[in-house]
Each structure stands twice: as structure tokens, then as C-alpha cells.
């Protein structure tokens, strides 16, 4: 029964991540055919991260790395299928995982630190600044390195995906 609840939670997580990724993707006007793919990748990636965070003892940065790596691998497969550069749908599918909240909380705690007059309380605030700031930085690097690794591994393929578009048209 417990497992069923977890599975349901993972699916819901993936579903909402897909909506979030579509919405944030349309700000940067992606090609129509890439929108659905980025939604699918976001669902897989975010669901995987949710699963890793709740079933294993991985921290959020390592879990993000694994999720981003799987997004990167899948995006290369899809890039060859629909002939778009891989980042056109791998970037939007990373957007729901961007540590925006950690990033702005860092700034909010900085503001709080300046306003704080009590010395012992300001030590706690410094801990919060570092915790949020470092988490945001590590997640950001984990996401980008994870998604870029497959592009480095499959160097040739990922450069020439938009070229195949033309060859297919010719045939």
C-alpha cells in the first residue's frame, strides 16, 4: 500500500513538472514540436528526482545531477528523432528544477542580516545565507553538468542534429 502511495506521488510530481516546464518554456518561444518533448523530459526528470529524494539517502544536488543526466541522454535521442538542437528541449525541461527559491532566499537573508542588530541571532542568519547560497550553486552546477555530459560524450551526433533535417527533406 505504501508503494502505491509513493508511485502516485511520483506520477503527480511528474505531471505538475510537465505543466511547469511547458509554461516556463513558452516564455522563450520554442518550436511547436519541441514543447511536448520538453514536457515529457521534465516529467521524467523531476519524477526521478522526487523518487531519489524520497527513496534513497541522496542529497538534492546529487539527485538533480542524476535527473539532469537522464534528461540529457533522452534529449540526444529525441534530438535525432525530430532534428532540433538538443538544448531546445533539454533547457526547458530543466527549468522546473532551477533552484530559484534557494537563490532569492539567499538575498532575502542577506537583507535580514543587515537589519539584524542582535549578534547571536545574526550567526543563525549567516548559516542560512550559506546554506541557501551553496545549495543553489551546487544544484545549478549539477543540473548543467548533468545535462551537458551526454552532449560531450556524443560530440559528433549532437552537433549535426539539425543537419539531418536537410538530408531527410532531400530524399
Amino acid at each position: 500500500m505504501m508503494n502505491f502511495d509513493l508511485l502516485q506521488a511520483i506520477i503527480f510530481d511528474g505531471f505538475f513538472a510537465a505543466i511547469a516546464s511547458v509554461g516556463f518554456a513558452v516564455i522563450s518561444n520554442p518550436p511547436r514540436k519541441a514543447i511536448l518533448v520538453s514536457a515529457l523530459l521534465a516529467a521524467v526528470g523531476h519524477g526521478l528526482r522526487y523518487c531519489l529524494l524520497h527513496c534513497t539517502s541522496l542529497d538534492i544536488a546529487s539527485a538533480s545531477f542524476v535527473a539532469a543526466f537522464s534528461i540529457g541522454m533522452l534529449s540526444i535521442v529525441f534530438a535525432r528523432m525530430i532534428h532540433c538542437p538538443a538544448e531546445v528541449f533539454s533547457f526547458p525541461s530543466l527549468l522546473p528544477m532551477i533552484p530559484g527559491m534557494f537563490a532569492y532566499k539567499t538575498v532575502l537573508y542577506l537583507v535580514k542580516f543587515i537589519q539584524c542588530k542582535d549578534n547571536s541571532a545574526s550567526v543563525d542568519i549567516i548559516v542560512s545565507i550559506f546554506k541557501n547560497g551553496l545549495t543553489a550553486t551546487f544544484i545549478m552546477f549539477a543540473l548543467v553538468v548533468g545535462v551537458a555530459l551526454p552532449m560531450f560524450i556524443f560530440h559528433k551526433q549532437s552537433f549535426a542534429v539539425t543537419r539531418i533535417l536537410k538530408l531527410v527533406k532531400k530524399n
Binding site: F16, N29, I98
Partner: protein, 257 residues
């Protein structure tokens, strides 16, 4: 044709091409690759330096006897993945079919002037996205509703101000202030069981995700200067977003977040 005239014409086109790639949010190594590929199809070599505001490039022929340099401002365009994808395939088309410069220009203008998705559609989808983002942070249905309205109004304000070409940092402060003011109603009137999350996620649609990703990719691939300047720009936007949010917190006296 005179070699110098040829270099000049191609140079003008390439600097136009690369500045629009930079403006629509392509990472630096792809810009360098695409531009070099087009130059190669004409039998020339190109070397370029990319800054946040300008691109400097020199086009030269095979035996280095003639060259032409240009400096061009980056265009003020919004992020656009469709143009990114189309211009990349245009560079392969030029490479494989040896298109003439006039054909290239026609195709380039066609791609650049392609219309964007309708504004109202984007507005609606962004609001849905931020509401489901609230759900990902374990917010309940009431919180999702508040975030939906907050994003709808905040993003509308942002679109309207962007159309009037107001300074984009100021736009970020104002629209995060508006969105968090509406998000704060959840805290003030105790709507639902998770009002704090509604307030916290109401401004997240403003986080500049694509510049952050591009900046780190640039740093990894060795274009450190371009990458750091992208990251600093993104950090500035996040600071502006936090200023808007902390204005709300100060005005309404909300202590915890």
C-alpha cells in the same frame, strides 16, 4: 568579384547573424561553430570575441592576405528557441548546399521575422506553470489558486512594461512586487493550510533560468568571460526580484518566509 568587397558583404551578414544568435539566448560555443561553418562554406575563416554587449569578429581568406573586421552591438531581442533551432539548421544548409549570400539573406530574414506565440496564450500558460510549481513545493489547492492569479497579474505587468522598453531591472522589481503583494493575501487572510508557500512561489516565474544554464555551460566550455557576464546578469535579475519581494515583506510586516 573583388575579394575585399566579398569579405565585406559576408562580414556584415555574419555579424548580423551572430548578434541575433547571441540575443535569442544561444550558448557561446554554438554561436562560434555556426558562424565559422557559414564562413567555411565560402572558403573563409572567421575568429570572434564575444562580450555581453558586442561581438568583434575578423573574417579572412585562406592565405591570410585579406581580412575584414567588424564590431557589432547585440540586438535587443527576447529569448527565442525557435530562431535558435532554425538558424542552426540554416548554417548546415549553407555548408551543404553552398547557398549564395543573397539566398542566405532571404532565408535569414524569413526566420528572424517569424511571429512569436500569442501573448495571451503565453500569459495563461505561465500562470498555469507557476501554479503547478506551487504544487511541486507541496502547496495545496487554495495556494495554487492564489499563485495563479498572482502570476497572471505580475506577468501581465511585466509584458506591458517590456513593450514600453522600460529598464528591465526596474521591470523585475515592479512585477515581483505586484506578484508578491497578491501572493501575500494568502498569508494575511490565512487562505488554505500552506499560505507561506503561496507567497514564496508567487515570484518564481521571474527566475532567469535560461541565462543561468547558458552561463554555466559557457564556463564549462571555456568561454569564461561570456559565461561569467551572463551569470552576473542573471544574478542581478534575481537580486531585483528579491528587492520586490522584500519590499512586500517590509510593507506588510510579514516576518517569516
Amino acid at each position: 568579384m573583388d575579394i575585399h568587397l566579398e569579405l565585406k558583404e559576408l562580414s556584415k551578414f555574419l555579424s548580423d547573424y551572430s548578434t541575433s544568435l547571441m540575443a535569442v539566448g544561444v550558448h557561446t560555443s554554438r554561436i562560434v561553430r555556426n558562424t565559422a561553418r557559414i564562413a567555411e562554406s565560402f572558403g573563409f575563416f572567421v575568429d570572434m570575441t564575444i562580450f555581453q554587449k558586442t561581438i568583434i569578429m575578423t573574417l579572412r581568406d585562406k592565405d591570410n592576405t585579406h581580412s575584414y573586421s567588424t564590431v557589432n552591438k547585440i540586438k535587443p531581442m527576447a529569448l527565442n528557441f525557435e530562431i535558435n533551432s532554425q538558424l542552426s539548421s540554416l548554417s548546415w544548409e549553407a555548408y551543404d548546399d553552398h547557398l549564395s549570400l543573397d539566398e542566405l539573406k532571404v532565408k535569414y530574414n524569413e526566420i528572424i521575422s517569424h511571429p512569436r506565440m500569442s501573448k495571451w496564450m503565453v500569459l495563461f500558460l505561465v500562470a498555469c506553470a507557476n501554479a503547478s510549481f506551487c504544487r511541486l513545493f507541496t502547496g495545496d489547492w487554495q495556494a495554487m489558486g492564489v499563485v495563479f492569479i498572482a502570476t497572471l497579474v505580475g506577468f501581465f505587468v511585466r509584458q506591458k512594461m517590456m513593450e514600453r522598453h522600460i529598464n528591465h531591472l526596474f521591470v523585475f522589481v515592479v512585477s515581483s512586487f505586484v506578484a508578491s503583494m497578491i501572493g501575500c493575501t494568502a498569508v494575511l487572510y490565512n487562505i488554505g493550510t500552506t499560505p507561506q508557500i503561496a507567497l514564496g512561489t508567487s515570484v518564481l516565474y521571474l527566475v532567469p533560468g535560461v541565462p543561468l544554464i547558458n552561463g554555466i555551460i559557457d564556463i564549462i566550455e571555456g568561454h569564461v568571460l561570456a559565461g561569467v557576464s551572463r551569470l552576473i546578469n542573471a544574478a542581478l535579475l534575481i537580486i531585483c526580484l528579491s528587492i520586490g519581494l522584500s519590499l512586500t515583506l517590509l510593507l506588510l510586516g510579514v516576518q517569516t518566509l
